[in-house]
Amino acid sequence: RSLQLEERKPSQQIAQRRVRKRRRLRKVRRRVRKSREEEERKQHVQRRRLSSSSDDNSEDESMSEGEMARLKEEVEEKKKLIATLRNKPWRMKRRLKCLKEAQAFVEKFEGALGKGKGRRLYAFKVMMTKKIIKFNRDFENFKTACIPWESRIKEVESHFGSSVASYFIFLRWMYGLNLVLFGFVFGLVVIPEVLMGMPYGSLARKTVPREEQDSAMDFSVLFEFGGYCKYSIMFYGYYNNQRSIGLLQFRLPLSYLLVGVGIFGYSLMVVIRTMARNANEGGDGAEEGTFTFCWKLFTSWDYLIGNPETADNKFASTTTSFKESIVDEQENLKDENIHLRRFLRILANLLILCCLGGSGYLIYYVVKRSQGFAKKDRNELTWLQKNEVEIVMSLLGLVCPPLFEVIAELEDYHPRIALKWQLARIFALFLGNLYTFLFALFDEVNSKLENEKEIKNATIWALKEYYTNYTLYNNVTENIPPPNISPADVIRGPCWETEVGIEFVKLTVSDIQVTYLTILIGDFLRAVIVRFLNYCWCWDLEAGFPSYAEFDISGNVLGLIFNQGMIWMGAFYAPGLVGINVLRLLSSMYYQCWAVMACNVPHERVFKASRSNNFYMGLLLLVLFLSLMPVIYSIMTLPPSFDCGPFSGKDKMYDVIMETIEKDLPPFMADIFSYASNPGLIIPAVLLMVLAIYYLNAVSKAYQNANLDLKRKMQMQRDEEKNRRNNKDSTNQVMKDLEDLMPNKSLIPPPSAEETEIPADQLRKSPKVTGKPGAAATGKGVHVQKDVSLAAANPRAPVTRPPGPRPPGPLPGNARGPPPGQGMGRGRGGPPPRR
């Protein structure tokens, strides 16, 4: 038995071994098959990708021959596979999978080859994609052709350069913005009131009061927006406070409020979007320092100039810009009296602050006076007295900027910096003026509110009296009809919103007038005089004193920005103001284009416009925020007039929203809103936002730092490369020693040759130089030329006279290891020449 057992064992073992072997083999075979299949699949996928990508690519043209052949091959393969699938020794599941794949492949691509069922579908797809692409192109071309005034702006650009044209592009952009705002206001507020609201004369608020009716059509009254103008759709007071009007139950008060706020929201969105787009288009110019001269050389010509006169100017400006850069490099040579300069700058700033304060006070004074005038009878006042405020503000805007420029001469800044200071000061001037004006206005509003209380009391008292009389005479106590007074005779409240609206409209109109007059007189008249008086004048008027005017880009742009600020502020109180602005921008475009071409000469220093664009947008954003605040303040805190405007009768203007939520929206919305306005929810939300802002700020700072680090590394690499190539180590040492020897200016050649020695920016960032032992590389006499180390990175300097073939041992300069200081270099002999 044992034998049998033993015999069985081996046979068992053998059998088992055989079974195991078979299993192993099967596994291996399976693995091999799987890997092969995977490879095949990958190849198929790759080919499919290639062919599908080539398929996509070939929308415009058919596939190339090679691809067709390859595709054909594969389709044939797949077909063969399908045919022979039955004979393969696979499992059913696998066969089915394979079959599905192969069939899908054949279906998809046979059409491409022009046969089989998929052919027509494929051809159709190709044709449709071609058509769509063509349609897209045509549409893009059409959109480009539709841009208004493009040819006009291009003409200005070719004569005056891209900087002046940028003003007109900005003007056009503003026009687009105002057009959209106008659409909102007109469509959602004015038209419903006109079509569906009560007509003129039906209500007290819509009628000219009896006492004013005689003079309501007078031109002088209309010119100041009194009379019929005041009681028209242009101003806040006309709109009725009926909750919903017309067939469609249009809720006018709600719409008025939402449009008023929506104007700001839309403007904010558009400005930020434009800023983001400008920033993307390389508007940062952060790398000015590294390639200054290269860029000047390669990119300073403005290829869009087509006029010889402008071309001459461009020549001159290129020259000037080169000279300017050379001067820039020499700036540090000017080691003048720093204290004097600082004193002068402080003095200048003080003077300017005085000017600003003075102008602010002047406006306040004038506004106060005009309030006094308003109390007197209109007819007694002269035109000057009536329009004092506007005239004073415009005059200040005209006189102060040149004054600032003159004072700024004291400061002696680089022109670019001086320009920025100038813009900031003018901005402060306009801002100060505007806010003083607003504060004076709000004083007036408050006094009107007081007045209103009295009138309100009087009205209620009169009404009560009427009812009592009626009851007395007719013995009826209920259902007394309302007093039958014509709307023109009703006692009116002062309606402060309309007054505010009138003020803004008057300001805008006077601003328009001043601008147009300035162009007419300052540019046109001047040009006419210079041209025609030149024939009989002692000196050359064209070249000498008055000459032709240049187009003042910054002044015009700032004027535009502030005008827009006033519109934003006034649009809530005077819906017609946006319409006036649209007309103004439209006419301004044509007028200024004509004036520029007819009366102005190109700038002497034609400068590039691209980088300033975001600066103006930033200003616009600031002005937007500043003009948002008064409106929001008045919506939130001031009570609306009791008898005029869409919010009359309410405590606060935003009560309309509460009312809507209560009455029109389903009840659970009211619950949601009341929860949402719970301070317990708002405060955490605000905190969360603050945290988010802080986090994003930190992240962006980290990115900036990383950026700087990378830039520095790149810079180091470049310098290392250069140094390595030129075997600088020895001469570095020598040159540094020489520097130590002669720290004063004697080493510095005349300005023109300095160019070669100033790889300033590169070396500022190169720590390699500063790290040299015992080196005063970037210190000492070098402060004269920024951070120039006369040695490194300048391939021309010492390379021309290498100290002979290099000795095998350490170089003479380094012979004694890290040299203790200045004494070492002297042993070497005379300095190698610097060129």
Partner: protein, 177 residues
Amino acid sequence: KKLNISHSQITRLYSRFHSLDKGENGALSREDFQRIPELAINPLGDRIINAFFPEGEDQVNFRGFMRTLAHFRPVEDNEKNKDLTSGEPLNSRTNKLHFAFQLYDLDRDDKISRDELLQVLRMMVGVNISDEQLGSIADRTIQEADTNGDMCISFSEFTKVLEKVDVEQKMSIRFLH
């Protein structure tokens, strides 16, 4: 077809070609180009005109005209690149820069030397700056751009210099959409 210009663009280019061709002989000569004011007052105008004409010839036909102008097609973001098969399209950033590079590199040795820079400077600034200063400006320019120390600006260095410049937008003509 390689240039990827659409039918309408070709029509427009042909009408422009036709309007420039005063001699009505189907080809443009240098005088025809110099009639364009923007090119006439451009200091590099002659070189730009030269770029249209193939080596040594005096006439450029419409195909050559199109080929040169194809450099100025705007670069589309979603341009499905045919990098795999036919090489870069003519209006890629590299090719645009190469076009500009060839305006400066007159002897076609793929390097802008100091003398070539001096020539350009003289044309751009004329006599208003002394020769010495011009020389220094040229030296400084090379110094800024040169990375391998050969005292010339090669094409790769040129590309690096203009890395931050928005070449795709500046060297594109919008109507060639």
